[in-house]
């Protein structure tokens, strides 16, 4: 398997993990337990009752940043995408970011600057934590419910009027335009640590934090790509369909 080639249903998941270990965090979000021997992706999806098309779409989107959703009719629902995106939000807000925050609190310097360094880092990271919370919160309260409402109305062919009036207020195009990048501060933090922070006495922790930041950044940018390249086009298509119904 070439490093950026397409991941397919008949591939053994174990091999896929060996090729790109960053997929582990995604696989984990589907609650798949390890000990998978040589099971193919198709077999695992059947076992766990996961939509094969959806799982492949997510794996590929995380694996290859140039991957675009296939144009063929996608057989999974918006609800599935939203559930996955939400579980990713949970993973960022309640696992990753908290664990990085705890690591930061452990840093120590043998110099009078200890207090200053720690305070400013904590302050910065706290701002970042709130930024991510606000971003994901807005999506869960406004964007995702809107997406689900559009899908339901579209598939059941009801509430057309309401959809149209909602669209005039806020459509998925607004979201696509406003969707900002929450990795910027993360990039800054990486450079602050790599280039400017005086070395603490427990260097190992700083190295761990840095690796975590790289992984989180990749995960966040893949996540944003799923929102922009999979969720948005699907809703856009449905909005068009709804508009034609009136």
């Amino acid at each position: 398997m070439k490093s950026t080639s397409l991941i397919k249903a008949n591939h053994a998941l174990a091999n896929v993990i060996h090729t790109d270990f960053t997929l582990l965090s995604v696989i984990k979000r589907f609650d798949i337990k390890l000990g998978i021997s040589d099971s193919t992706i198709r077999e695992i999806c059947e076992n766990y009752n996961i939509s094969l098309a959806f799982f492949l779409e997510i794996l590929n989107a995380y694996h290859d940043k140039n991957y675009f959703a296939t144009k063929k009719l996608q057989s999974f629902s918006i609800q599935l995408i939203v559930n996955f995106l939400k579980s990713s939000h949970h993973y960022y807000n309640n696992e990753k970011i908290l664990s990085i925050e705890r690591q930061i609190q452990k840093l120590e310097w043998d110099s009078p600057d200890h207090e200053r360094n720690l305070t400013i880092l904590k302050k910065f990271f706290n701002e970042y934590k709130n930024e991510v919370k606000a971003h994901t919160g807005h999506e869960e309260e406004t964007v995702y419910p809107y997406a689900i409402f559009i899908e339901e109305s579209c598939s059941k062919n009801e509430n057309i009027e309401e959809c149209i009036s909602k669209m005039q207020n806020y459509s998925i195009t607004n979201y696509a335009k406003e969707h900002d990048n929450i990795e910027e501060k993360l990039k800054d933090l990486k450079n602050i640590i790599i280039k400017y922070l005086p070395p603490p006495s427990n260097q190992n922790i700083l190295y761990e934090i840095l690796s975590e930041l790289f992984l989180l950044e990749k995960d966040l940018s893949d996540h944003a790509r799923i929102e922009e390249k999979i969720l948005v086009p699907k809703i856009l298509e449905m909005e068009e369909k709804l508009k034609q119904k009136i």
Partner: protein, 203 residues
């Protein structure tokens, strides 16, 4: 060894990204900015002082000759052109060409030749004992860092320093490029760590 730096002027996004990919194969080379037109080309080169510009022939042909000679002779900037492979399009002011239909190995060969020449002139023109610290902030930029850390917006910074908002934004861009820090909060951390500002000055 200091980096060889480039500015790219090319309308087509596809071609621009192709050039970026090729340059990335070379060590110690950095693309400072990409532009899709040649507006302000002279002042951009003056400001960023690249070793070379890579420019589409179609754009190049719009630059007045006197400007080209100034770019080459006063700003010591080499020129590489991209375009279709026509003998007749050659110009005495262009140091090297990349052609649309060259295959990858040919493109790399031409680029390598170009880059090697740049490295040679670069090392000749410099005192070998002194490292070029392109990443050090100027006094003016340090001043801007302090104001950003104090929470001022670009507009407020412009008013405080009696500069235009455009200049203030250029400072911000250069600070971001030099430090690798873009956000105001990140710049604040930098300012504290480097004692440009005290914790108690934060709002």
């Amino acid at each position: 060894m200091s980096k060889i730096t480039f500015l790219i002027f090319e309308k087509s996004y596809l071609i621009r990204k192709g050039i970026v990919t090729l340059i990335e194969e070379f060590e110690n080379c950095e693309i400072i900015f990409e532009y899709n037109d040649i507006e302000n080309i002279h002042s951009l080169i003056k400001q960023h002082k690249p070793n070379a510009v890579i420019i589409n022939l179609a754009l190049f042909n719009f630059i007045p000759i006197n400007l080209i000679t100034r770019i080459r002779n006063e700003l010591h900037c080499a020129i590489m052109a991209i375009g279709p492979d026509f003998e007749s399009l050659k110009s005495e002011f262009i140091d090297e060409y990349l052609y649309y239909f060259d295959d990858k190995s040919e493109l790399l060969k031409r680029l390598k030749h170009f880059v090697d020449n740049l490295k040679r002139t670069e090392s000749l023109g410099k005192n070998p004992g002194i490292k070029k610290t392109d990443h050090e902030l100027s006094e003016r930029e340090k001043g801007v860092v302090i104001l950003v850390a104090k929470g001022l917006t670009n507009k407020e910074i412009a008013d405080t320093l009696f500069i235009s908002i455009h200049t203030a934004m250029t400072h911000r861009k250069n600070i971001a490029r030099k430090l690798g820090i873009k956000t105001a909060s990140g710049i604040t951390v930098y300012a504290i760590l480097n004692k440009l500002i005290d914790m108690k000055d934060l709002k």
